[in-house]
């Protein structure tokens, strides 16, 4: 029981990082990015590639993966998505457009990655030793991934809470129209948030590749989980995202160990269902008046 709890929390840490990336993109830039999971897989591929080709550790790879993902996502926002934001007549119209456009992007990316890397599964062995905590042993790579994810998530939180740039970002998240009135360049901030979100998700991908076996088409599963976490935690709510990610991590591990490993999505859906029925505003959200 205790083993499940710890394993679940370790998994939840990486989920939290991935979902924070999606939350930045949806909460600030207002883009429901369904290609988020493909960014994750791309980050994982990059880590895999530098590890097998040059024996570079996935942690060092983060130094390349994160800036690269930032630039790519920033460009995606500026070139692909900003025109949609500008032409949208309402929030609903933007949502439909961005959902379709990012679906297109997601399929195109899967197509390209399958073409470039093949359709097979990939994994590598890094830090496979074990660590004992309270009498059970856990894989080193999971603990390292969890620690780095927590470190990144914490720095992101501090940056958002205590810097001027972070304040601007939160202002846009609360209300883009009012943010414009106080002299914030909403498009620039949105592009920054989208790029940052992509970088965070890709880093999460590099971390998760240390202990997960992935293939080119697995991205949509992660998108799904990240979406469920974001909705469960509340859009734009970082604390909620972290708590929700931990809950999902534990729930998934529990179902996989106790009932059947093939039912992990069902576990996520059960949580999703509960949220939709009882707290559609998110765990810590206030009821809209």
């Amino acid at each position: 029981m205790f083993f499940i709890l710890i394993t679940g929390l370790l998994l939840g840490g990486t989920y939290a990082l991935i979902a924070m990336g999606l939350n930045l993109q949806y909460g600030v830039a207002r883009i429901m990015n369904l290609a988020n999971g493909e960014m994750l897989v791309a980050g994982a591929f990059a880590a895999f590639w530098v590890f097998t080709a040059g024996q570079v550790s996935p942690i060092a790879a983060l130094l390349v993966v994160a800036p690269l993902a930032f630039v790519v996502n920033w460009l995606i926002y500026r070139i692909m998505l900003q025109p949609l934001v500008k032409r949208a007549k309402s929030r609903g119209a933007l949502e439909v457009d961005s959902i379709l456009a990012t679906f297109g992007l997601s399929f195109a990316l899967v197509g390209i990655m399958t073409w470039a890397f093949g359709g097979g599964f990939f994994n590598y062995s890094y830090l496979t030793g074990r660590v004992d905590i309270f009498g059970s042993s856990y894989a080193q790579n999971r603990i390292v991934a969890f620690s780095i994810a927590s470190l990144l998530a914490a720095s992101l939180w501090i940056w958002l809470s205590y810097t001027r740039a972070g304040l601007r970002m939160r202002a846009v998240a609360v209300s883009p129209d009012s943010a414009r009135l106080v002299g914030i360049d909403v498009h620039a901030v949105s592009a920054l948030a989208f790029g940052l979100g992509g970088a965070v998700t890709a880093s999460g991908g590099a971390l998760i590749s240390m202990f997960f076996t992935l293939d080119a088409s697995v991205g949509v599963m992660f998108t799904m989980k990240a979406l469920i976490i974001v909705i469960m935690g509340g859009v734009g709510d970082i604390r909620g995202t972290i708590v929700a990610a931990m809950i999902l991590g534990v729930a998934e591990t529990f179902v996989a160990r106790v009932i059947d490993p093939g039912l992990t999505l069902a576990a996520a859906y059960l949580l999703f269902l509960g949220i939709l029925l009882f707290r559609p505003q998110g765990l810590f959200g206030k009821k809209p008046t």
Binding site: L34, L105, F107, G111, T114, M224, L227, Y269, F272, L277
Partner: protein
């Protein structure tokens, strides 16, 4: 019934009648493609019935379709064949009602996300049940030929077109168009928006399940991973949007070119089908919003024959 309605009705029956004659001409490759097209026509048209006016993008088609194939797979030996599509329709409507009750009271994003994983969820549950009961995939060996399936699908298409036509003329169709334009206005004019959306989603789900039940004999061997393949949902969305959801015939205008293109790509470069799907999505958003119907209407507007 106005003169125009009568003309459209005659044209539609003539086209369907003509399509029904195809198996007399060829029962090989041509019929096989035509069956695929007929399947997607029914699926895309019924998808557009719900998603067209409301702008709620449903990705659940594969879940309903898979449900239908399993109804046939489990029941074809014990139950009379004519009952299976009816059972599938009932189950499809029930599943749609459950999904609708949970998500359609909330904003569209929740609905998209929920339906995105629905097929995978049902697949996991079915696989789990099969593992517990020690069952594997099943063979659907019947005397039903592709020609019979094709005729069933054409009949289904006629039914869906008729239902769509009736809905568009009814109070229900009017209500849905108001919901799609502005949900707040709809609520204020006293429309039970959630109820209207759920009812229409049930129709769309029931139709997809029936198509699944009809198609099952074509696959011969059914297992969860093929019956619930999520790609089907996306194909349906693309075809409907490519054609355009503004008119009843819109999805058909997307189904024919896209099925041919898909067939061509999957024969010559089977690994590039996903890329094609992605590019088609981008094309619709950036170049063809409103699909072929939208393009047709813009052209008509520009070269102004005026009277539509």
């Amino acid at each position: 019934m106005s003169k125009r309605d009568l003309r459209n009705l005659t044209l539609a029956s003539a086209a369907l009648g003509l399509a029904a004659l195809l198996p007399l001409y060829d029962t090989g490759y041509l019929l096989s493609i035509a069956t695929t097209m007929a399947m997607f026509t029914v699926l895309a048209t019924s998808w557009a019935l719900f998603s067209g006016p409301t702008h709620y993008i449903s990705l659940a088609t594969a879940a309903f379709f898979g449900l239908g194939t399993f109804v046939t797979g489990l029941g074809f030996q014990t139950l009379p064949m004519w009952m299976l599509p009816l059972i599938a329709a009932g189950l499809g409507a029930v599943l749609a009602a459950l999904v609708g009750l949970v998500t359609l009271r909330l904003s569209g994003v929740y609905f998209v996300i929920f339906t995105l994983g629905l097929a995978e969820l049902v697949r996991q549950l079915v696989t789990w049940v099969q593992n517990r009961t020690g069952q594997r995939g099943m063979y659907v060996l019947t005397s039903i030929t592709e020609r019979d399936i094709y005729w069933q699908l054409i009949a289904m298409a006629a039914l869906v077109f008729l239902v769509g036509w009736l809905i568009a003329r009814s109070r229900m169709g009017f209500a849905l168009r108001i919901i799609g334009n502005d949900e707040t206005v709809a609520k204020h004019s006293g429309i039970d928006t959630a109820m209207a959306k759920i009812l229409l989603f049930m129709i769309s789900g029931a139709v997809a399940a029936v198509v699944g039940a009809m198609m099952a004999p074509r696959y011969i061997y059914i297992e969860p991973s093929t019956a619930f393949a999520p790609i089907l949902s996306f194909q349906v969305v693309i075809m409907a949007l490519l054609g355009g959801t503004g008119r009843l015939w819109g999805p058909l205008a997307g189904v024919i070119p896209f099925t041919l293109l898909w067939e061509f790509i999957s024969r010559n470069a089977p690994n590039q089908t996903l890329l094609l799907l992605g590019l088609a999505f981008l094309l619709i958003v950036y170049v063809l919003p409103g699909g072929f119907v939208g393009l047709y209407e813009r052209l008509q507007h520009r070269f102004g024959s005026g009277g539509r």
